[in-house]
């Protein structure tokens, strides 16, 4: 799977309160959430972001709360992929569960600039900065998670496996 988009560059430790402030969590409509994505950090982000754009960040992206509204808002705003030096673990799970591709690369995180056009090959992990003509490789995505992404997220994965509450009667004791 290949993606191409324009880069929005953020720093390190971008927390989920910055991605989507809790004052908007009294509902979970993706379109409504998208309207407020990154609003305290960059008030004009939602106005300017275009479908397919790629978000680039430093270390520990998505730290803080477990709110899935954060990757949901980014995805609904049009972000097609996030490249970071590292991700906070709950955000990482949530992104993959929603089918939002997340790639880790220290070099890409440092060298790619705001506004660059970047091509990403999710299968190989290759990140190509068209503007700078530079090539990077992301850490490989574990096979199990690749399967999740291929299936289109956790729900689709479970539907595919037919796990419709199969174990519903089992007692954990």
């Amino acid at each position: 799977m290949k993606l191409e988009g324009r880069i929005w560059k953020f720093g390190s430790d971008v927390d989920t309160d910055a991605i989507i402030p809790a004052r908007y969590l009294n509902q979970s409509d993706p379109k409504e959430l998208a309207r407020h994505v990154m609003e305290d950090e960059r008030p004009d982000f939602f106005q300017k972001v275009r479908r397919g754009d790629i978000l680039l960040a430093g270390k520990n992206f998505g730290c803080g709360s477990s709110r899935e509204h954060a990757p949901l808002a980014l995805k609904a705003a049009g972000i097609s992929c996030i490249i970071a030096r590292s991700f906070a673990r709950i955000f990482y799970r949530n992104g993959l569960n929603l089918g939002l591709p997340l790639l880790e690369s220290s070099e890409a995180s440092e060298e790619i600039r705001e506004g660059d056009r970047v091509r990403v090959d999710l299968t190989t992990g290759e990140i190509f900065d068209v503007t700078q003509q530079k090539r990077f490789f992301a850490n490989p995505i574990p096979a199990f998670m690749q399967e999740l992404i291929r299936d289109g997220g956790l729900i689709a994965h479970l539907q595919k496996r037919g796990a419709k509450g199969k174990r519903q009667s089992s007692n954990p004791d």
Partner: protein
């Protein structure tokens, strides 16, 4: 194996697991709240699930925007209420019997040593204080776990944190965990199990242990965990309604890293804006005047925290033009605080006492900050804009510093308040 690895192995039907293994683990308890559960219920329905895996093992607690702060919040609570009724859940807590989830669940005996707990709330790691594996997940994971009773997990590496020595006066678990986060950073334990150990941990009260495990996520940790001991069992025994297992790390267990802290050298800590790792000794923060103090939350809303605050506030008045909001974390804590006269002390000092809610901690309601305002809170995160306006500031501390600072109107050590006499 470490205690974390042993619990994960036991829930996977394996004799042995090691860091990096991807496991399909059995879940003992799955938790959601009024913000995260609506999306989880949506995911549950999209899977096509008809029943929850076990009606005693799915817990729903409306606690974030409750008592419902607006129509949309009320509707979110309604989603939980309807789901709980339709699936005959044993543990749906209406606000009159509820509280902040991470203080409520242990209090009700719903989490026991050796359990594997997941919750769609990042502070689910709190229960590690009981010797359980517990971690925060998102709504989709919760929805899947509610349907299947299982969840895939990667076995984390463990980071051993050894605390020795004797605590200084007023220093609590909050200071130890803030100091630790200041030392290792907000991603210092990324994806790792933080195992808190040593004689100073064994000497800590249950409340302080909960506070430490609670903030493991603030260092990026997957879980925080403490080996159960006599103090754990004293807490558990009157509450447990099912069997449990005590696990300990093997002496030869492997750790990604081991760090040691002499607690006798750790003073009262304050985290400065806008990141929990930006910590300083309270005596080194300089003159920081504050508009609001919040004592409460899943981190520091325990009875013990209120007692500490009351010891300082007894017979005193808070600074003019300062707002002090005290939030007992559960109805039971509120009732006990009332019996002990703590609520009277708070009210006489000029505080407002709120029903249990996460409210102000995440800028939801019950004490949101205006532009340019500065708060000191016993909560867990001081990210920019977390408690309100993007141009407000949050400082974090334990209850002793919070109570003393409410009296002075600026961040200070409790001795500054008590030295003058009542």
């Amino acid at each position: 194996m470490t205690i974390t690895e042993k619990i994960l192995a036991a829930h996977t039907g394996k004799k042995y697991v090691s860091p990096g293994d991807l496991i399909d683990a059995r879940v003992d308890l799955a938790l959601g709240n009024d913000i995260t559960a609506p999306l989880a219920i949506e995911a549950f329905e999209r899977i096509g699930a008809k029943k929850v895996f076990h009606r005693d093992r799915v817990v729903l607690v409306p606690d974030h925007f409750t008592p419902a702060k607006d129509i949309l919040s009320a509707e979110q609570c309604q989603v939980l209420r309807r789901f709980a009724k339709a699936h005959r859940l044993s543990h749906f807590f209406e606000i009159g019997e509820a509280g902040i989830e991470h203080v409520l669940l242990p209090e009700k005996g719903l989490v026991l040593p050796g359990d594997l707990v997941i919750g769609a709330d990042s502070h689910t790691c709190t229960y590690g204080a009981l010797g359980a594996f517990s971690t925060g997940v998102g709504s989709t994971d919760l929805g899947a776990a509610m349907a299947t009773g299982r969840l895939w997990l990667k076995v984390p590496e463990s980071l051993k944190l050894i605390y020795f020595g004797k605590l200084k006066p007023w220093v609590s678990g909050k200071d130890l965990i803030l100091f630790t986060i200041g030392d290792i950073g907000v991603d210092g334990a990324l994806y790792q199990a933080m195992e808190f150990s040593g004689e100073a941990i064994r000497a800590l009260s249950m409340a302080s242990r909960f506070t430490m495990a609670n903030m493991a996520i603030e260092a990026g940790g997957k879980n925080g965990i403490i080996e159960p001991d006599g103090i754990t069992l004293n807490y558990i025994k009157p509450r447990a309604k099912r069997s449990y297992r005590l696990y300990r790390s093997d002496p030869e267990a492997h750790y990604a890293d081991v760090r040691e802290y002499d607690v006798s050298r750790i003073n009262l800590q304050v985290a400065l804006p806008h990141i929990p790792s930006n910590v300083k000794d309270v005596r080194e923060v300089g003159r920081i005047e504050i508009d609001q103090v919040v004592i409460g939350s899943c981190t520091n809303g325990h009875l013990e925290d209120l007692r500490v605050a009351a010891r300082i506030l007894r017979g005193k008045k808070i600074a003019p033009s300062l707002r002090l909001i005290v939030i007992p974390a559960t109805q039971e804590i509120f009732r006990q605080a009332l019996r002990e006269g703590l609520i009277e002390i708070f009210l006489s000092a000029g505080a407002v006492v709120s029903p249990a809610t996460c409210g102000p901690c995440l800028g939801g309601h019950m004490g949101v900050l205006a532009e340019g305002e500065r708060a000191l809170a016993t909560t867990n995160r001081n990210f920019r804009g977390r408690m309100g306006h993007a141009e407000s500031e949050i400082y974090l501390s334990g209850p002793a510093v919070a109570a003393a600072s409410a009296v002075k109107g600026r961040i200070c050590h409790p001795e500054e308040v008590l030295r003058k006499g009542a």
